[in-house]
């Protein structure tokens, strides 16, 4: 990346200069214009005052040609661990906020793990602030992440949350199967109605939980950014509903951007929809399109999802996922939006 961002006069470090004398002069001139025996008409006086004020201001403000303005150096671009993605974005910028968004199964976590593996292989320390405690350590290990260099902050603990032992699962009872001879449509209606009742009850609770998680995430992020020394800090908000994630004030994102600005840290946010607005320097949208769904299986799945595949399910193997990545916005490289497709392989695909 060779692009450079030219700072404007409003950029930090370039204060405006005001001259007290010019202010006094303006006041005295205006006072003179109010005198009843003045020689000049009010319009001409006002024009002369304005011109003199402008002249004084121009002499007071150190105007510099555009060629002499401070040039902010382009951020260092670091590989994301996926060559195709690097070809699209140029890499992940240090000292900037990068947003990667997309729905479930769109490859956000795969990109996150690739970036973590790449950063830890360079010897950098990384931190994942996991809003929903959803990181899978085995996936980390398979992706090649050096676990000793990864700090995992597991947010979202609720008081009295049960453990994950098999005994708990048995006690919890889990769902049930509809293997009874009821017609499929009636089963669907019954289950949907149950879902609706349950969802109304749980909606407020889940919203409170999301807000609790977000509060923990933001506080932990503040502390880690202040601590410094991390090469990559990831905010994993992928499972936070967009309506909750949008409650993060824009000032918070500005604060994060400012905190990370002059540090060699990549701040990466994983979410369902873009929420940081103009604070993010890079915005990537990931997704798995229906047309690309056909290639998820090695070779058994038909291209037409409606077509019957008579092979038994145990003859299928989930081996890879085709991810569509679209560069929505980049403040570093002003090029039109474009997209690429890359593959992610499952751990057992070999």
């Amino acid at each position: 990346m060779s692009s450079a961002v030219v700072s404007t006069s409003a950029a930090p470090g370039r204060p405006f200069l005001f001259d007290d004398e010019s202010e006094a002069e303006v006041c005295s001139a205006s006072a003179e214009s109010k005198r009843p025996g003045g020689k000049h008409s009010p319009e001409s006086v006002a024009a002369s005052v304005f011109q003199s004020a402008i002249g004084n201001r121009q002499s007071a403000i150190s105007l510099a040609p555009a060629s002499r303005l401070e040039i902010r150096p382009a951020p260092e671009m670091i590989t994301s661990g996926i060559p195709d993605l690097d070809a699209l974005t140029g890499g992940l910028p240090r000292g900037c906020l990068t947003e990667i968004c997309g729905p479930a199964s769109s490859g956000r976590t795969s990109v996150m793990l690739a970036a973590l593996a790449s950063a830890t292989s360079r010897g950098e320390y990384c931190a994942v602030i996991d809003a929903s405690d959803s990181l899978d350590p085995h996936s980390l290990a398979v992706a090649g992440v050096d676990l000793d260099r990864l700090l995992w902050v597991r947010c979202g603990e609720l008081k009295g949350a049960p453990s994950l032992s098999p005994r708990f699962l048995r006690r919890q009872g889990g769902g049930f199967d509809f293997s009874s001879p009821l017609p499929l449509n009636s089963q669907k209606k019954e289950s949907e109605s149950r879902c609706r009742i349950a969802s109304v009850k749980d909606s407020s609770r889940s919203q409170r939980h999301s807000e609790h998680c977000l509060e923990q995430v933001l506080r932990a992020t503040d502390l880690l950014l202040e601590s410094g020394g991390f090469g990559l800090i990831i905010l994993d908000l992928a499972d936070i509903p967009p309506q909750s994630a949008r409650r993060i004030p824009l000032t918070t994102w500005f604060r994060f951007r400012r905190a990370v600005e002059h540090k060699p840290t990549i701040l990466l946010s994983i979410e369902q929809q873009p929420i940081a607005g103009s604070c993010s320097s890079l915005l990537l949208q990931l997704g798995v399109l229906s047309s690309q769904f056909s290639v998820i299986s090695s070779n058994q799945f038909s291209k037409n999802p409606d077509a019957r595949d008579w092979r038994p399910s145990h003859a299928h193997l989930f081996t890879e996922l085709k991810i569509d990545a679209e560069l929505i916005r980049s403040r570093l490289d002003r090029k039109p939006a474009r997209s690429i497709t890359f593959d992610t392989k499952t751990a057992w695909a070999g």
Binding site: T79, P83, P103, A104, S105, R108, T109, S110, M112, L113, A114, A117, S118, T120, R122, Y125, S134, L135, D136, P137, S139, L147, D148, W152, R154, C155, E157, L164, P166, R167, L169, R170, G173, G174, G175, F178, L184, Q187, S191, E192, A198, D202, A220, L223, S227, G228, G229, A238, D239, F293, I296, S297, S313, H314, H316, L317, F318, D343, T344, T346
Partner: protein, 563 residues
């Protein structure tokens, strides 16, 4: 050459070390059981106010500004340990002559520390850093140094700030001659020996012998005829000609500081002030021995005074009903010792906290903040009457960051940050991951995250090789797994609904499985399950889930989503 470190009025010095704000006040130390409490030591200001050792406490209390403190063996042993650290930081050959007196062999130290004067002043400064105001004297033999150090206080008084004396070789008799006769009497003599020494001094006083010069000038034969060998011994001492060999000690590396409180502390904020003082003292002692610490143990003695509980209940102290039952982190419950105080009205318990650090550190501020965060998370829950702090010494880390190494978090800062984050998300929910040797799907545990600068970068995989590797389809887990209602057709899932999460539902477009896993059948938490990989259409999007059928419990769960 030998140096002597002598602390006059040692009980007062120990008290002033614990309470430096009393430096400008008249201070008297008393001991004994009521009502027979007696003053045993006073500082110069108290002496000017008319207080002297031997007075009763009631008499001393008539002085309005006098700070009366009970003699504290804990404070004195801490001050003595600090003196030993001071001496050991200069010379390996140190004699522990008395609690207030240490002798050092300075042979060969000139090349390291400079001239004898410089060494003496450095010893004085180091002792002052450790909170003890000591007299330092250097002489060619230990006894001459000892007498000179004792006599410094008597000659110059406490008004003199820097009490350092260097006696050049051959000038012992001349420099010691001005000292009074009292320096010859050891303060620590007791019983008959003390009476004998007192009568000897009285005899010499009757002869008109007022200082050591006069004693040294007496004819030896005549002195021997009248006072025997003891008189000759005293004369040799007065001439600075008596020499002996040092008995060096190897003090154990124990760094402990304690403070007993007259009034129980109820709030954590005043406790922080005291902890700060103790931590600073420990850090200075560790620094004088070129050591750091990796483990701090804080023991608080709690008191539940009868009739005081109600008063303290509303005083704002964070209450934790079982606070005194707190065990030290990583130690069995037996590590907590409970003791019953002899008074019937007071029931005291001990509250212990252990602060383990990933790397050796030596920063009192960081320690204080970590202890504060720990005590905020685990409040003692009762008034505190005694604070005991000990540090386990460790070699300081010697790693140096390279210019071309990637940045790493500063260990002290990181430790504070982790402690703060642990206060937000929970203690066991922040750290590094360690995979366990098991096939259990959640086979991992959290461990302490340590950022070492010197840790080698993994060399087995170059960045190019990492880039060449295809990205891995990761699993995002639902913790706890989502209970699912599954519609089966021919024993295969056809439709999926998760009541707890509305997003996770839809018709199954594609499935792979079942893949059967089981383990830990020899334990109570055995598990056995079938796993399915599903593609589920939810509106316009397609999501991939891992569905689990618990074969032992019979339930269906969505364990995670492939992302």
């Amino acid at each position: 050459m030998f140096a002597c470190i002598y602390v006059p009025n040692f009980p007062v010095a120990a008290a002033l070390r614990a309470e430096p704000e009393l430096q400008a006040c008249p201070v008297a130390i008393f001991e004994g059981k009521p009502p027979l409490e007696q003053i045993i030591a006073v500082n110069e200001r108290a002496r000017d106010a008319g207080i002297s050792p031997g007075m009763t406490k009631a008499q001393a209390e008539l002085c309005p500004d006098l700070a009366l403190r009970q003699r504290s063996p804990l404070q004195e042993s801490s001050a003595h340990a600090a003196l030993l650290d001071c001496a050991q930081s200069f010379s390996p050959v140190v004699e522990d002559t008395a609690q207030d007196t240490l002798l050092l062999d300075l042979a060969g130290l000139e090349s390291l520390f400079g001239s004898l004067t410089k060494i003496s002043h450095a010893i004085f400064d180091r002792a002052q850093e450790l909170g003890v105001k000591a007299n330092v004297a250097t002489a060619v033999n230990p006894n001459a140094a000892l007498l000179a150090a004792r006599g410094l206080a008597m000659v110059h008084g406490e008004a003199e700030n820097r009490k350092v004396m260097v006696i050049p070789p051959g000038k012992e008799a001349e420099r010691l001659g001005q000292l009074p006769m009292e320096v010859l009497v050891d303060d620590h003599l007791e019983g008959d020996q003390r009476e004998e020494a007192a009568s000897l001094l009285e005899t010499l006083n009757r002869w008109g012998i007022r200082n050591l010069r006069a004693l040294a000038a007496l004819p030896e034969v005549a002195l021997s005829e009248r006072l025997g060998q003891q008189g000759l011994h005293l004369q040799k001492l007065a001439r600075g000609a008596h020499t002996r060999t040092l008995v060096p000690v190897e003090p154990p590396l124990i760094f402990e500081e304690a403070v007993e409180l007259d009034h129980p502390i109820v709030l954590l904020e005043p406790l922080a002030f005291l902890l700060n003082r103790l931590l600073e003292q420990i850090c200075v002692r560790l620094a004088s021995r070129a050591l750091a610490t990796q483990e701090l143990r804080l023991t608080l003695e709690l008191s539940n005074l009868t009739g005081v509980d109600d008063e303290f209940d509303n005083a704002g102290i964070p209450s934790e009903s079982d606070g005194s039952k707190e065990t030290m982190r990583g130690q069995p419950p037996s590590a907590v010792r409970r003791s019953e105080a002899p008074q019937l009205s007071r029931r005291s318990t001990q509250f212990c906290r252990k602060l383990s650090l990933p790397l050796p550190m030596l920063d009192a501020k960081v320690f204080l903040k970590l202890l504060q965060l720990d005590l905020n998370a685990h409040p003692p829950g009762a008034p505190i009457v005694k604070i005991h702090l000990s540090a386990e010494p460790a070699r300081p880390r010697s790693a140096q960051g390279g210019l071309f190494l990637p940045p790493a978090p500063e260990p002290e800062k990181l430790e504070l940050t982790l402690a703060r984050i642990a206060g937000i998300v929970g203690e066991q929910r922040v750290g590094a991951v360690e995979l366990l040797d098991t096939h259990h799907p959640e086979g991992f545990r959290m461990r302490r995250f340590v950022a070492e600068v010197a840790r080698k970068t993994p060399q087995n995989k170059t960045p190019d090789a990492a880039e060449a590797q295809a990205a891995i389809t990761a699993l995002r887990r639902f913790r706890p797994p989502l209970g699912a209602n599954v519609t089966l057709q021919n024993a295969q899932p056809m439709r999926l609904i998760c009541p707890a999460k509305r997003d996770v539902q839809g018709d199954v477009l594609w499935k792979a499985g079942p893949w059967r896993f089981s383990g830990d059948w020899w334990e109570r938490d055995a598990w056995s399950r079938d796993e399915w990989d599903l593609a589920v259409r939810n509106g316009e999007t397609i999501a991939f889930y891992r569905l689990v059928h618990d074969l032992l419990g019979g339930g269906w769960f969505v364990e995670g989503t492939y992302d």
